[in-house]
């Protein structure tokens, strides 16, 4: 694994591509911050509509680009949260507790810079922890055979479906729908055609890209257009005033930032929880540890630092289960799976074995992206502050242009546009009826590897599946037995966090 790590440096610093990798990462960070700074436009939407760009470039360029969007988007939400008390993304809601109060006190610049440095600190530290963890976990994952993999995939899907939304059974039903949609096409063992209903265009399966863009980007557009152009914020209110952040002030918040980073990193590894909960938990922990908790909510710099370090620290660790076991922990990483799959790289134990250096190159790029993060964020804060004033009436149609163009270029097939619109309408309907579509997307993506691993297990068992699993593969048996208990514990924990902190993005 260490050789793969070193190989990652060699691939990343290939003179022919290194400049372009960093250029694209910078572009991703810029676009992510831009979209994050737009209230009503989520990081999820940005990732979904920019996903196609990554399909047509080498994964070493495309995946860091998307990771840039991911990181930038989570931070970008803090800008309008601090300036006008409008969180650009759900992850920045906790930032509104102290950010706007600091702006009123004339310390907007300080608050924005604290948000930036805390975000970068949280992100960078959690990225380093991610790299440190991924090697050992991947090494263990490589020892898993098809029965263990099938059991882990099944457990992960049930846990994620159960914890993704408020009602356990609704999550499981969406998972079942996703598994069914994933079966359309060819069965992964015998390659026999299934459920194509005579439609030639889906004989190879439902294309993943239109489905992901439809499910994750279009519903956000539908929600945004429910009301026509709302009042535009006066640009005069968006002046960044006050003194710059001093090293002493940053140092005084360092303990809080480190605590929030630890919280965010832990949350990132737990499926189905995410940035919103991490930010609230980081904020609550900072408040309870403070000697002056009464100052929180009145414009306390530490409050901004706590929330921002925690929400950005989630980003890196969500990749641990994704890259080692092939399990995306949330809707944002589902989109990253789409990017991997488009390049023929299926996240999981084999990916680390076959493409270890490439994976480490991407992870090292992710760490180095934090340096760009500081520069772009620092230089562009005034620009992103103005982004809030851009008319929604102009931006929404442009989002559609990206979504449709990205879908078309996938296969140049008009059917894909129909699939995009159908899944967009389905996603909107699901949102309104309080179904979470994340388990659907996960079922769709993980259904084929689950069926394949299950099929191999059946073959290995020679027809004696129960005795094989519980006698010859005790780890598999243990995972199966433990699944209901783990699911219950995770679900109970997620419910408690939801009740305490809320989890809407």
């Amino acid at each position: 694994m260490f050789e793969s790590f070193l190989g990652g440096f060699a691939i990343l610093f290939n003179p022919e591509t290194v400049v372009m990798t960093f250029v694209l990462m910078s572009a991703g960070l810029f676009l992510g911050m831009f979209v994050g700074a737009l209230p009503g436009f989520t990081t999820l939407m940005a990732l979904a509509i920019l996903l196609p760009i990554s399909f047509f470039i080498h994964p070493l360029l495309g995946i860091p680009f998307l990771l840039g969007v991911y990181k930038g988007g989570i931070y970008g939400g803090s800008i309008p949260a601090i300036l006008v008390s409008m969180p650009g993304t759900g992850a920045a809601v906790a930032t509104t507790f102290d950010g706007p109060a600091l702006t009123k006190k004339g310390e907007a610049r300080k608050a924005l810079e604290m948000a930036l440095f805390a975000s970068v600190f949280g992100d960078l530290s959690s990225d380093l922890i991610t790299i440190a963890l991924i090697g050992p976990i991947a090494a263990v994952a490589l020892l898993l055979g098809p029965p263990e993999l099938a059991a882990i995939l099944m457990m992960a899907l049930i846990v994620i479906a159960g914890t993704s939304s408020g009602v356990f059974v609704k999550g499981l039903l969406m998972l079942a729908v996703g598994l069914f949609l994933g079966m359309i096409g060819q069965d992964p063992i015998g390659a026999l055609s299934r459920f194509s209903f005579g439609i030639t265009e889906i004989e190879a399966g439902i294309p993943i890209l239109p489905m992901l863009i439809g499910l994750f980007a279009l519903p956000e557009i539908f929600v945004a257009i429910e009301k026509k152009a709302t009042g535009i914020i006066d640009a005069a209110n968006l002046k960044i005033t006050g003194a710059r952040l001093k090293w002493v002030e940053f140092k005084s918040c360092l303990r809080t930032i480190i605590r929030s980073t630890a919280i965010g990193t832990t949350i990132g590894m737990v499926p189905g929880v995410g940035q919103v909960v991490a930010a609230f938990m980081g904020y609550a922990a900072a408040k309870s540890a403070s000697k002056t908790p009464e100052k929180f909510g009145q414009g306390e710099l530490e409050g901004v630092a706590a929330a921002e370090a925690a929400n950005n620290a989630v980003n890196g660790p969500t990749l641990v289960p994704l890259l080692t076991l092939g399990i995306p922990g949330d809707n944002l990483t589902v989109i990253l799976v789409g990017a991997f799959i488009a390049h023929g790289l299926r996240p999981g134990p084999q990916l680390m074995e076959e493409q270890g250096p490439l994976v480490f190159a991407i992870l090292i790029a992710m760490v180095l992206a934090n340096i760009l993060f500081i520069f772009i964020g620092y230089l562009c804060i005034p620009l992103f502050a103005k982004v809030v004033t851009i008319r929604k009436s102009i931006l929404l149609p442009l989002t559609l242009v990206f979504a449709f163009a990205g879908t078309w270029v996938f296969r140049s097939n008009p059917y894909d546009l129909a699939i995009l619109v159908i899944f967009g309408a389905l996603g909107y309907l699901a949102k309104k009826l309080q179904f979470d579509v994340t388990p659907l997307a996960m079922g769709f993506i993980l259904g084929a590897p689950l069926e394949y691993a299950f099929g191999q297990t059946v073959i290995l068992s020679g027809g004696q599946i129960f005795s094989y699993v519980f006698v010859e593969r005790p780890i598999t048996g243990a995972i199966i037995v433990l699944t209901p208990f783990i699911t219950y514990l995770m679900w109970r924990r997620s419910m408690r966090l939801r009740r305490e902190f809320g989890a809407e993005d």
Binding site: M20, F197, K227, L400, V401, L417, V421, V458, G463
Partner: protein
């Protein structure tokens, strides 16, 4: 209102018919339909060679498991639904919201036709201009410029550096390849590196 430990949701005292009940019935019907269409919707191997296709796991086994799980989950959901007190957010939509969503759906459908028949740039121009005007933009010059410039940029981005295809008419003919692709951008193409 009490919190139900089995569902994690706010629940009603019991026996209330609501949108979740309707959704549960729909899921149950779909699951039953799925189970019954399985034999007709899965190919059978033309010849038996005893290979992978003849493994112990038939192509219909996994779908059958999913269909049964789907059905049982539907039944579970049906029972849970009577006690759920979630809000059907479709009911919160006022006339303006419904109109806007439907208009956007119509625009999207028309946009599919427009880009197929008029090309990406012209189709997008019409869509962006119409939609931005409908949703409140009254700065028509800005609307015009944005509607023309952004689709053109997107077209150039996808077709030149990323070497993919979008319905071309009429822009492709007026942009010579020679000045759009220049050396640094060629690295973006999948084919040109590694």
């Amino acid at each position: 209102m009490a919190s139900d430990s089995a569902t994690g949701e706010e629940t009603a005292p019991g026996g209330r018919y609501n949108f979740n009940t309707v959704a549960a019935v729909v899921f149950i019907v779909l699951a039953a339909a799925l189970f019954f269409i399985i034999p007709g919707q899965i190919d059978t191997p033309l010849i038996n060679l005893g290979g992978a296709g003849q493994s112990n796991l038939e192509a219909e086994t996994f779908p059958q498991i999913i269909a049964v799980a789907f059905f049982l989950l539907g039944i579970w959901y049906l029972f849970v639904s009577f006690r759920l007190r979630q809000r059907n957010q479709l009911r919160d939509l006022n006339l303006e919201a419904i109109t806007n969503v439907l208009v956007t759906l119509v625009i999207m459908t028309a946009y599919v036709g427009l880009i197929i028949f008029l090309g990406f740039v012209v189709g997008s121009f019409i869509m962006v201009f119409v939609m931005s005007t409908y949703f409140g933009n009254r700065n028509f010059i800005l609307g015009f410029v944005v509607a023309l410039a952004v689709p053109t940029l997107v077209f150039v981005l996808f077709t030149k550096p990323l070497v993919t295809s979008l319905p071309p008419f009429p822009i492709d003919e007026v942009i010579p390849n020679s000045w759009v692709i220049y050396p640094p951008l060629k690295y973006l193409s999948n084919k040109s590196i590694f």
